[in-house]
């Protein structure tokens, strides 16, 4: 029996795979990414060695996470940062809402943070009566559309300029335009005042540096810099797995994140924040709060076989190369983390039985594993999730069918004869398409069945 989430996934997949316009749009976007990435990657003297090193650094960080987190927090608090450890989304949300209340905040500005999406922070703030504005252009657009981001890195990838123009016309009352430049300027102007007036700026963090007690934020637009420079209070939300040992590790991670994520050599702004404004600095927030979030990451940590999934630097490369993602699109996953990495970790973060279908919705082609800059064994973890799901709660009908098949393979001669017999029924299958059981029906809906050979290989072997 399919969970209702699995049924929704199937319905959404059916809808999107049938939408040829959508498929073409995503294909074009991802092909241009691929071209850029291939070009940038080929500039490396040794991309494969870089991947191995990045993987090694992450292994070191994750497998000594308690030590590095402790060092990280010590260094941060020594210079005035207030660190809050949140076991789950609720604790993190409560902290931010309480802080907003304490500060009497009226306006809050945000830069892109998938972790904040994960805990539905905006919703909680809105319900508590605070205006939260997304400053990243893609996030700003999907926020106006009241829908979740379409992709980890490119939130509005699924929209045309005309759709964005219509959106701005409706929500911002601006004149229509089909120029991406003009549309960007509209958003820039709309957000300018928000930056200047916001009481609190909320950001994410791409990395946390244990050695120096800093967070690192990677972006192109400059909205994160503004979000973390102007408001009096800066709150950053960071998953516990983001911490890396040394500052110099960024010399590898910053370019690799950009190369894998967008095909750039390095993104436009890579900023390090180590605290609120220091006494000898002329501006900057008076308070800096860092919320460290667990929210089931320690669950994934405890699964030693899949622990490397916590190495993820959220580049989105696995989404970009995944043929399933290309065909069903980001919204079909119906969860914060999409594509291969999302399919691997969501069962750990949100429950195996509810989310195992994502692990089954894969042909296991391995393109994700091949492309991952930190060498996470992605497609093999999908197999591990499948095994774990069966161990926990197998589908009785499916298990029976597989056990029957396994039993029959002890009698190859018998199977051979059964196959010979079924040849006679083959012509009927094409005619009786709609009466066939789901597995076969699924095939013949779009494909002809291969004919069973008159003489099998073992027949030939016997008689030669």
């Amino acid at each position: 029996m399919l969970s209702s989430l699995a049924a929704k996934f199937k319905n959404s997949s059916t809808k999107f795979t049938a939408d040829l316009g959508h498929r073409a749009k995503i294909r074009t976007a991802l092909k241009s990414y691929e071209k850029a990435r291939n070009g940038t990657q080929s500039q490396y003297q040794d991309w494969q060695a870089a991947r191995t090193a990045a993987s090694t650094i992450k292994w070191e960080a994750i497998n000594h996470l308690d030590a590095y987190l402790t060092e990280f927090v010590e260094k941060l608090t020594a210079r005035g940062t207030k660190v809050f450890w949140a076991s789950n989304g609720q604790e993190a949300r409560d902290y931010v809402v309480a802080l907003a209340k304490e500060k009497g905040a009226r306006s809050i500005i945000k830069s892109k943070s998938m972790t904040s999406e994960e805990i539905h922070l905006n919703e909680a703030l809105r319900q508590a009566g605070y205006e939260v504005v997304e400053s990243d252009l893609g996030e700003y657009i999907v926020q106006l559309r009241e829908e979740p981001p379409y992709h980890l890195v490119f939130p509005a990838m699924h929209l045309t300029r005309h759709e964005i123009s219509d959106l701005f016309q409706e929500k911002l009352h601006t004149p229509p335009t089909d120029s991406p430049e003009e549309l960007t300027m509209i958003a820039r102007r709309a957000l300018r005042l928000k930056y200047l007036e916001a009481d609190i700026g909320i950001s994410g963090a791409n990395f946390g540096i244990a050695e120096t007690g800093m967070i690192s934020i990677t972006e192109n637009e400059g909205n994160a810099r503004l979000t973390t420079a102007l408001p009096k209070v800066h709150v950053a939300l960071m998953g516990i797995e983001k911490v890396i040992p040394k500052l110099a590790d960024l010399a590898l991670f910053l370019p690799m994140l950009a190369t894998a994520g967008t095909g750039q050599q390095i993104t436009c702004y890579n900023s390090l924040i180590g605290g609120p404004r220091q006494p000898d600095e002329t501006d900057g927030p008076e308070e800096f709060h860092l919320i460290l979030l667990d929210n089931q990451r320690t669950q994934l940590l405890a699964d030693a076989e899949q622990r490397d999934a916590l190495h993820c630097i959220r580049c989105g490369a696995c989404l970009n190369v995944c043929p399933i993602y290309r065909n069903v699109g980001g919204h079909t996953y119906a969860t914060t983390y999409q594509g291969p990495i999302g399919s691997v970790i969501t069962p750990h973060l949100r429950g195996l039985m509810d989310w195992k279908h994502l692990s089954y919705a894969s042909s296991l082609c391995g393109a994700c594993t091949e492309t991952c800059p930190v060498k996470i064994d992605l497609h093999h973890h999908l197999l591990h999730n499948r095994r774990n799901a069966v161990a926990q709660q197998p589908d009785p009908a499916e298990r029976f069918a597989f056990r029957a098949f396994a039993f029959l393979t002890r009698f190859p001669g018998l199977l051979n004869r059964l196959a010979r017999l079924s040849r006679h029924f083959m012509p009927l299958t094409n005619a009786a398409r709609s009466f066939l059981p789901p597995p076969v029906k699924g095939w013949v809906a779009s494909r002809d069945l291969p004919p069973i050979a008159a003489k099998s290989f073992r027949d030939y072997w016997r008689t030669r």
């Binding site: 042909s363 799901a389 098949f405 396994a406 190859p412 069945l449 016997r462």
Partner: protein, 238 residues
């Protein structure tokens, strides 16, 4: 030398000419070919479904039947990968762990065996046609088979190889994925077959019949003239 031929269940029942071609090729090279009738399936569908315990039942039979020291050649990237890469993981921390590793070292995908183990690229074949090649994902990414089929095709007389765009994209078969998520499987197959059709090739060649079965199913339904054929069948032609 004596070569054990592992014929995947779908090759046995649906595409026997692939197996027959492999036998002819090795015998022409002067090797003795053996086929163990006791083995029907490598167990991959169960493994991919998550039924590892049931898979061990099937795989144990394979381990026992193929015990020894002769090389095992498989004309399918996915089945070769199953035995070579996944059997060791499947049997880790079990009494058969060592046997699985030992067998793994002797298992080879067909084109990789010819080129990497026997050092042969020219089989004296002739196949006068324009063809394009699809890299099956398991062969490509699990077994790193990429150049070998091309090195073999290069030596086939009167054959023209045209590479398709997106040659390393998955065809969409993926085993039970093809029937569990048929709409996604079909969409992927459509993209792949469109790339193949664009080359203007008469034949779509691969080292994995499961991919070809899926693509041929789509092509036939669309009434396309492009025909699918296994690498072994091309190499066995003269």
């Amino acid at each position: 030398m004596k070569i054990n031929l592992f014929i995947p269940c779908f090759v046995d029942q649906l595409f026997p000419s692939v197996g027959i071609s492999v036998v002819r090729i090795f015998e022409k090279l002067g090797h003795t070919v053996d086929f163990k009738e006791a083995i029907f399936c490598c167990g991959q569908p169960l493994f991919n479904g998550g039924y590892w315990e049931e898979t061990r039942g099937i795989a144990t039979r394979v381990l026992e039947t193929l015990a020894g020291s002769d090389p095992v050649v498989v004309p399918s990237g996915s089945c070769a990968a199953m035995v070579k890469n996944f059997y060791p993981e499947l049997f880790r921390k079990t009494p058969q762990a060592e046997a699985a590793v030992q067998l793994s070292e002797r298992v080879f995908e067909f084109s990789s065996f010819l080129v990497d183990q026997l050092g042969i690229t020219d089989l004296g074949s002739r196949f006068p046609a324009k063809v394009t090649f699809h890299d099956g994902c398991h062969g490509l990414r699990e077994l790193h088979v990429k150049l070998q089929p091309r090195q073999l095709l290069e030596r086939v007389k009167d054959l023209t190889l045209v590479e398709m765009e997106d040659q390393t994209s998955c065809c969409g078969f993926g085993g039970t994925f093809a029937v569990k998520f048929p709409m996604i499987s079909t969409a992927m197959g459509e993209t792949k077959s469109a790339s193949a059709l664009e080359t203007g090739a008469e034949y779509l060649v691969s080292n994995d019949s499961s991919c070809l079965m899926h693509l041929q199913g789509l092509l036939s339904r669309q009434n396309q003239k492009l025909k699918t054929i296994h690498l072994a069948e091309v190499l066995a032609s003269s």
